[in-house]
């Protein structure tokens, strides 16, 4: 199957004062369409940096990233912003909803950047909120919702533009186990029902267990990959 994400010899360095920090080095990766992929690893291993690079939030120091047919590693900031609107949906650990907007308006936010009429926007927002089971919380502000509900709004906002990729950075990290389970279930349903490609960073093995494949990073390199249930297939992937 043609990969939807293709990362080739990726490297990312940060500078802290005079020191150059190599966060990712010579990393290659392919993600097929419709896969639910988990990225695991210790803190500082580069998982979030990799996620940010694939989502077009940052630019690599070396290597290339192709998503679909587009070489996003070569895009400028404004073009990347437009690309993100159409192709990437984000789910954050701390939900990151705008506190002054209602659930409806938070979900509507990315659609404002697309050439849609009011009724088209409304239809898409209501569908997304219905999918996450929050049709009855349209006019609630984030402060009036529980953590699990806020994360559902975050997921609705991520899927409302029908993106190519959904990237989730520790989506269950701030939730109790029951809510975390519900969110993971929701992601699995979305992947199954909408055939979305999901990239999820997590520290939680139970969350990773819901993914089809799990990549382990250490010191900026992929050290192994495991398929569902962790013991199906294990191999060294870098170098």
């Amino acid at each position: 199957m043609e990969p939807i994400v293709e990362v080739t010899h990726l490297g990312k360095n940060f500078r802290r004062g005079l020191e150059e920090i190599h966060v990712l080095s010579n990393l290659s990766l392919q993600v097929p369409q419709g896969e639910f992929l988990a990225l695991m690893g210790p803190s500082g291993s580069g998982k979030t940096t990799l996620l940010n690079l694939i989502a077009g939030l940052d630019s690599p120091t070396q290597g290339s990233i192709r998503v679909g047919k587009e070489l996003i590693s070569a895009m400028g900031e404004s073009r990347l912003a437009k690309w993100r609107t159409r192709h990437v949906g984000f789910v954050f650990q701390f939900y990151h909803l705008l506190p002054v907007l209602t659930a409806y308006e938070n979900v509507e936010l990315p659609l404002l950047l697309l050439p849609l009429t009011y009724s088209e926007r409304k239809k898409q927002v209501l569908t997304a909120l219905d999918l996450v089971g929050l049709s009855d919380r349209l006019s609630h502000r984030p402060g009036q919702l529980s953590g699990g509900q806020q994360q559902r709004v975050g997921i609705a906002r991520a899927i409302v533009t029908d993106p190519t990729l959904i990237v989730a950075d520790e989506p269950t990290g701030d939730l109790d186990s029951k809510s975390a389970e519900e969110i993971l279930e929701l992601l699995v349903i979305l992947k199954g029902a909408l055939n979305k490609t999901i990239l999820m960073v997590t520290h939680d093995p139970r969350a990773a267990n819901r993914a089809e494949r799990c990549l382990h990073l250490e010191k900026g390199q992929l050290v192994n990959e495991t398929y569902q249930n962790f013991n199906v297939h294990t191999q060294a992937v870098s170098h």
Binding site: L57, D58, E77, S78, T85, H96, V100, L101, L109
Partner: protein, 523 residues
């Protein structure tokens, strides 16, 4: 374009007659803009931006209101300063048409000329055929000044009256006899807005109870001013209501019939504790031993002449003649110095230059010599003494205030941006381009600037014009400065410009936020 502008003017100007009309008109105008804006905004994403920006502003309403209040106060100061500067600028700008020229003694301040100069100077000193001749019935007037106190034993600011001695007809000249008889037929007393009872008591007129025909006549009076059938050498005639014009004309006729009768401004009358119809005697302060008795025949309409008083010039001149007759061989010291100014009005610059030349070469005005200058250059010469003060107002105070406004807005927006770095990052993640984030931040600043600027200028306009009655800035001989109608635009404009300039730096910072750094910090 000029034709279109004139047509718009002819439509709009009649709608704005009083300050109250102006305020109502402005409110309607802004309501119109609001409806238009929301009309457009409902159709698209602009409405979302607008609401989003407003909610961000209301999130910390205390900071937003403090910023707005600071802007309003500064707009108030700028409006006051600009009002004075604009007034002075207009007063010193040369007109191309209907120039007012001032003739004074050439080498001395205060100007004191013999009254014998009056006849020739009023005509513009024509000496031969082809010379320009001023129409003395309506285009010239003489000024003499007579000051006195009602209590010579204890002189105070309140008991002093300073009279302009002139031909009362020059207060208001009715050039068409039919209009004059029309005005006489309208039953409005010279004492308007008061009526004198049989007992001598003055009662405020609540309603004029005019017939429809009389109301129409009042309209004709109003139109007569616009048509030039009623003119005046004094400023402010066009500001008078038709009822006030009729009352003023009747008061003038009374002063023409009895030289003791005078027209006095409201505030001066109040300070003297006198009412219309009452008499008072002045002990002169400048014309020694010429003490005169007066009767109040009328009162100036509320406004720029509140502190003024006008008497018939013949009353003073006759009193001088009488003094000289009673004291043979000992003429009054001011006998040949009683004419202070002559005003003439000429149609254009060429006529002015001609008159100026006629006066300059005339042998009749050699001792003392006189000069003729336009009113604007006369004012400019007078204001020369205040040059440094005005320069400071214009180039130090106003820029400093504008800079302060920018800084206040800049600090408020910077704090707001710092508090919302995460939200800016989220917007970026969702696909908002740097330019769109820039618009959100600039929009917040500009909305605060425009709204508080408008409130600032509107409240300044209302407070100064309606409540205080003008800025009493004691410079030269100008009356209280009234805030011009166009000042209602100054506030929103300077609010928007200072907000824009003050928010450029914080909004640039907002749009340069690095998403990965912000989220790394949160994690």
């Amino acid at each position: 374009m000029e034709g279109i502008a004139e047509r718009i003017d002819s439509f709009l100007v009649p709608l704005v007659v009083t300050p109250g009309d102006a305020i109502r008109f402005t409110l309607v105008e802004w309501l119109g803009f609001f409806v238009l804006f929301t009309g457009f905004a409902f159709a698209g994403w602009a409405w979302f931006y607008f609401r989003f920006i407003l909610r961000n502003l209301l999130r910390n309403w205390l900071r937003t209101s403090l910023t707005a209040m600071a802007t309003m106060v500064l707009v108030l100061v700028v409006t006051l300063v600009w009002t004075i500067l604009l007034f002075l600028s207009n007063a010193t700008s040369e007109k191309a048409k209907d120039l007012k020229a001032i003739i004074t003694e050439k080498w001395q301040i205060p100007s004191q000329m013999p009254f014998s100069y009056e006849a020739d100077l009023s005509e513009g000193a024509p000496s031969k055929n082809g010379d320009f001749r001023v129409d003395t019935t309506k285009d010239s007037m003489t000024w003499q000044f007579y000051g006195g106190t009602v209590d010579p034993a204890k002189r105070t600011r309140e008991n002093i009256v300073f009279f302009f001695c002139m031909d009362p007809n020059k207060l208001m000249t009715v050039n068409d006899p039919t209009i004059d008889s029309l005005m006489a037929s309208i039953p409005i007393p010279a004492t308007y807005p008061y009526r004198k009872e049989e007992t001598g008591e003055m009662v405020e007129i609540k309603s004029l109870n005019l017939t429809d025909a009389q109301k129409k006549d009042l309209e004709k009076v109003k139109n007569a001013v616009q048509k030039g059938q009623i003119t005046s050498m004094m400023d402010g005639l066009d500001e008078m209501a038709p009822e006030e014009l009729v009352a003023m004309r009747k008061a003038i006729l009374l002063t023409l019939g009895d030289k003791r009768k005078v027209v006095v401004g409201r505030e001066r009358l109040l300070a003297l504790n006198k009412r219309i119809g009452e008499t008072f005697k002045l002990t002169s302060l400048n014309y020694k031993d010429i003490d005169l008795e007066f009767e109040v025949a009328g009162v100036f309409p509320d406004g720029r002449y509140n502190q003024s008083a006008v008497m018939h010039r013949d009353y003073l001149n006759d009193a001088m003649d009488d003094y000289n007759r009673r004291n043979p061989g000992k003429r009054h010291p001011l006998s040949d110095k009683s004419l202070n100014l002559v005003w003439i009005r000429v149609p254009d610059t060429a006529s002015f230059q001609k008159v100026e030349g006629q006066i300059a070469i005339s042998p009749k005005f050699q001792s003392p010599a006189v000069k003729c200058e336009t009113a604007s250059s006369g004012v400019a010469s007078f204001l020369d003494a205040y040059r440094d003060l005005l320069w400071g107002l214009r180039w130090i105070l106003v820029p400093f205030i504008l800079l302060t406004m920018s800084l206040i807005i800049s600090v408020a927006i910077s704090i707001s941006v710092r508090e919302r770095r995460k939200e800016m990052a989220i917007l970026k993640v969702l696909g908002f381009a740097p330019g769109q984030i820039l618009i959100v931040v600039l929009g917040e600043a500009v909305i605060v600037g425009i709204l508080s600027g408008f409130l600032g200028s509107f409240s300044t306009y209302y407070l100064i014009n309606e409540v205080i009655g003008g800025v009493k800035f004691p410079i030269a001989f100008f009356p209280a400065f009234m805030i011009p109608f166009e000042a209602l635009w100054w506030g929103p404009t300077i609010g928007a410009i200072t907000a824009l300039s003050g928010s450029i730096f914080p909004s640039y910072n907002a749009c340069r936020i690095k998403v990965s750094e912000v989220f790394a910090r949160i994690s």
